[in-house]
Symmetry: C2
Subunit: 184 residues, 2 copies
């Protein structure tokens, strides 16, 4: 059996795979994450996931490498990690009271064969007051997260409901990934 | 400000409220959880939540007590915690490949004023093989959980998608509860 490698520094992805009972190692590469303007969000997430996994597969023989990339999308606009606290507050104001999409692209590769897919989950935010946004930004939690929130952290109180895979929003559609790994 | 009391021994509910930043204490009572036959599932969850919170409120002055009860419902049948491993396997076979409801009833009370609500989330299970069911039952995770699975544990790989509040499935609709507490 090939060794399974997670090509991600995200502690959340690591925790999800561990919870699912997968044995793996983490190996992170600094793949270029630039995506051409105008790329559809789902494609963008899969392309970045593929870049991450291929960059690690080069350094590893007899491995299956998992790459993943999570983005937040509203009105066709892709929200990455906020640049600063003002940017985080502005993203949260943009998401307030509305439903957005969270897309995680996943790529599995052994360097030869490559399989990728993307999952889309929908997230409905509560209507947030300026005070609620300021209090949440002050926790610093938004700063390293796409869309400026973490549903699995203090951000749980911002979310009214979701549709799709919850773990996809956290950063890895773990059930689909485990099933894809078994087939791979 | 009144002290907030969680009337539940569930480590998951405790963790959710803590993550949301609520300061509280835990006080558990052994309220009678018998519900008359024929009670609608949503009512049953709210009635049990109310019994749990009122039993604790009796022992506590100047407190707001949170009671909660989570049930799993499919085809009008309420699934509680499995009696043994065979019962767990049979529940999982029943849920396999289908969509069921998870209902959490929540009650807030200070002994005088009482407010309660219930949230419904929908959970779609993957089609499970007998091998997958046996492997999951062998982890023992199903044994203390309504419906014989924990979405936040190894059970994450059984679930294809959800609709509604994820944390409601874990055992407490934490965002709605925090909002209700603020109003209360």
């Amino acid at each position: 059996m090939k060794k399974i490698i997670l090509a991600s520094a995200s502690p959340r992805r690591k925790e999800l795979l561990t919870t699912a009972g997968v044995e793996f190692e983490v190996l992170v590469s600094d793949a270029d994450e630039t995506i051409p303007d105008g790329t559809a969000p789902t494609d963008a997430a899969m392309i970045t996931a593929e870049k991450k996994s291929l960059a690690v597969a080069e350094k590893c023989t007899d491995c299956v490498v998992i790459g993943a990339d999570t983005i937040v999308v509203l009105d066709g606009k892709i929200l990455g990690k906020p640049k600063d606290e003002a940017d985080a507050a502005s993203m949260l104001r943009f998401l307030s009271g509305r439903e957005h999409e969270v897309i995680t692209g996943v790529c599995l590769t052994d360097g030869n064969k490559t399989e990728k897919f993307a999952q889309v989950s929908r997230v409905k935010f509560y209507e947030l007051t300026d005070g609620e946004i300021a209090a949440y930004v002050a926790t610093k939690e938004p700063m390293d997260k796409a869309g400026a929130y973490g549903i699995q952290g203090k951000g749980c109180v911002l979310v009214e409901s979701i549709e799709g895979d919850y773990f996809n929003i956290v950063g890895l559609p773990v059930a689909a990934t485990v099933r894809a790994l078994k087939k791979f």
